[in-house]
């Protein structure tokens, strides 16, 4: 039973991280109608910045904060230089253009930081585990991730639903011409939203940095999962992205954790050991397919424009 609980925590943590990436993606899609494959690159860049700044300042929290700010800037810069000309174009043009950006960023990172990858060491106070229940201890850092991500999700909700900026964002999403006509600086708004999305992806990347090795191409796997999430949740819906992200995190983790045991009941243990990994990788795609067959607009469809 404790194992199930622990695996649920693992799933929650994975889901929340994915939410941070998906939230930016769904914001950018919902508001600018922009398919951004380079979103994964921003996740990667956040992680590389974290590695650099943590090593430079010698302090994990300070380095992470600097990395967050730097990714925000890179995102806004990217929007002005490369993304802005793509607005209003066909989605496939977005795909090709931003795919080009992915190639560019991967090589750029290789030139700047080298191919070897980097490690971000955790400070001692985070590099321990905490006794949550008798018999259940959990890594402190992962708890910190859960708490941070939940806080960011809450802030994001408040930002979008309760502030003036959020009102402008929602107005821009539902009718961009009208919002523009009413005197909203749409250009600036878009740059801000893109930067915010980038920073969220960067935050996910920098929080993953101490767990993973910071390396080239680390964004691509996350990108596909983030797309799955915004599709399941309904494109443009932050609430949908939140629910779907937790769902995907839990399904992926539970699948990896318990499928081999379940399969072992019906087949040989060698067979189970080879089938289980393939099957558990299929799980989230299976869920997405089923969701879309039943609800072609995702779980939380946004009213069409």
């Amino acid at each position: 039973m404790l194992l199930v609980l622990e695996q649920c925590l693992n799933g929650l943590q994975l889901g929340l991280l994915l939410f941070l990436v998906a939230a930016g993606l769904t914001l950018i899609f919902g508001i600018m109608d922009m398919v951004n494959l380079a979103h994964g690159s921003l996740y990667m860049i956040g992680a590389y910045f974290a590695a650099t700044f943590v090593a430079w300042t010698g302090d994990f929290v300070l380095g992470a904060a600097l990395a967050f700010g730097a990714t925000l800037l890179v995102g806004m810069l990217l929007e002005v230089i490369a993304i802005r000309p793509l607005y209003g174009r066909d989605h496939l043009d977005h795909v090709l253009g931003t795919f080009g950006l992915v190639l560019f960023f991967n090589e750029l990172v290789r030139i700047v930081w080298g191919p070897a990858g980097l490690r971000v060491p955790l400070p001692d106070w985070l590099n321990t585990s905490v006794q949550l229940l008798p018999g259940l201890s959990y890594p402190t850092y992962r708890i910190a991730i859960i708490v941070t991500a939940l806080a960011v999700a809450l802030l994001l909700y408040i930002l979008v639903m309760r502030t003036r900026l959020g009102m402008l964002i929602r107005a821009g999403a539902s009718n961009r011409e009208m919002a523009g006509a009413l005197g909203v600086n749409i250009k600036l708004l878009y740059t801000l939203v893109f930067g915010l999305g980038a920073a969220l992806a960067g935050l996910a990347g920098l929080m993953q940095a101490p767990i993973l090795t910071v390396q080239i191409g680390m964004g691509e796997n996350v990108l596909i999962l983030a797309f799955v999430i915004i599709i399941i949740g309904g494109i443009g819906s932050i609430r949908g992205a939140f629910v779907a992200a937790i769902m995907v995190g839990l399904i992926d983790t539970i699948g990896r954790a318990f499928l081999p045991d379940i399969l072992r009941l019906v087949m040989t243990s060698r067979g189970a050991a080879t089938v289980a990994p393939a099957l558990s990788s299929m799980m989230i795609y299976l869920v997405m397919a089923i969701v879309l067959v039943v609800r072609p607009q995702g779980l939380f469809p946004v009213a069409s424009k």
């Binding site: 490690r119 767990i211 993973l212 050991a273 080879t274």
Partner: protein, 393 residues
């Protein structure tokens, strides 16, 4: 306007036509296929550096002929590796194809090489199929068969009296071979095993939770390259480090050590080559490599260095007559060169019969982390698939 378009089209086409056409010249042409992009380019670069060092040591000449090496990047993808290999064979007409880090890339690329009767020297990958039914008179390995190293680890766990173990590895050819290898020699109880998605999933929290619940005596793990860094990292974060001892194969090497740092201290591994093996060839290799690249060479490098020396021994034996393939094969079968791992023999399937050592992580005089030989785990180990190989000599 039209003329300009036609001209532009013709210019584009002439670029294709200018693709290297084969020229008959007197040199030994070697194609070197490895990964030079993405995160595992670190391994490819180390292999290239060591191969180049070997060529420098022999004066860039083999049997009196100058050596020409063409490096190709397989991008760690089987289909790309296959295509680059075909290019080397069909367009560059190389005499030897060397390299291959990944078992699945090697398996995809094997056929065009041996079909064209070109020698393929694997400097790392050693899938069980090629040791068994797919063995070929044109294939040689300067590394090991995938199962051999984990077999040695299994042997070592027996010696240490480990009663139960949990196995974790990536879900691809070599990953499965590694777990099979441990299972072949380890006599205790295997309480669980996980094959994780590869390449891709690198958060091991789910697997580590399962390990904690299974409470094994030990954990065996195989993760090459950066994934090995991640694993040790998360093992420490999960609090398992210090509670359950870790045994590894190909997870800690001199490429990953600078990132793993003290997380790797006290974690044993098995290897057929360690940088402090006390033979003359190895001392020269390690010293010159360190002088040139300011870092310790890895076992990938050592195998590539040996591959160059093995090719050299063959070409020298036939005095540069590269058409004498039987002569070259007979010479290579003797493994008649100064290998950095010390002397070894070839089995009927052209895989080495060699010793495996226990390696440990220590600090050298300058305070850098490095690997050190502790003991010999098995002597003259031969892979278990050689009996499936029909080749006899």
């Amino acid at each position: 306007m039209l003329l300009r378009t036609v001209f532009a089209g013709a210019a584009v086409l002439s670029v294709f036509a200018a693709m290297p056409a084969p020229a008959q010249q007197k040199s030994v042409k070697i194609g070197f296929v490895s990964t030079f992009s993405g995160p595992t380019a670190v391994i490819g670069n180390d292999m290239r550096n060591s191969f180049e060092l070997a060529l420098d040591h022999i004066g860039r000449k083999m049997g009196g002929l100058p050596v020409e090496v063409i490096y190709e990047n397989d991008e760690q993808r089987p289909d790309v590796g296959r295509q680059k290999t075909e290019k080397l064979i069909q367009s560059d007409r190389v005499n030897f194809v060397v390299g291959y880090i990944w078992s699945n890339v090697l398996l995809a690329s094997l056929k065009p090489v041996v079909d064209s009767q070109t020698f393929l020297i694997s400097a790392n990958a050693g899938p069980s199929q090629i040791a068994g039914e797919l063995c070929s008179p044109f294939f040689f390995s300067t590394s090991w068969q995938n199962d051999q190293t984990p077999q040695a680890v299994g042997e070592y766990m027996n010696q240490k009296g480990v009663k139960s173990v949990y196995l974790i590895g990536p879900n691809y050819a070599a990953g499965k071979d590694m777990l099979t290898g441990v299972r072949a020699t380890y006599k205790g109880k295997i309480v669980g095993e996980d094959l994780t998605q590869w390449p891709g999933q690198l958060d091991f929290s789910t697997e580590l939770s399962k390990v904690r619940a299974a409470k094994p005596d030990a954990v065996f793990v195989f993760y090459p390259g950066a994934a090995g860094v991640q694993f040790l990292n998360q093992y420490a974060q999960s609090g398992l480090r210090g509670q359950i001892p870790l045994y590894t194969a190909f997870t800690i090497d001199s490429l990953s050590l600078p990132l793993q740092k003290d997380l790797a201290l006290g974690v044993p591994g098995a290897q057929h080559w360690v940088n402090d093996l006390p033979n003359e060839a190895n001392k020269k290799f390690v010293a010159d490599f360190r002088a040139k690249h300011k870092a310790y060479p890895s076992f990938y490098g050592a195998q590539s260095y040996d591959a160059a020396m093995l090719v050299n021994s063959a070409v020298t034996a036939v005095k540069g007559n590269l058409d004498n393939k039987d002569g070259m094969r007979n010479e290579m079968r003797k493994a008649n060169y100064a290998s950095v791992r010390g002397p070894y023999r070839y089995g009927n399937n052209h895989f080495p019969i060699q010793n495996f050592y226990l390696q440990d992580v220590v600090k050298d005089k300058e305070g850098n982390l490095t690997l050190q030989t502790v003991a010999t785990i098995v002597k003259d180990s031969q892979d278990q698939f050689h009996s499936r190989c029909p080749m006899k000599w």
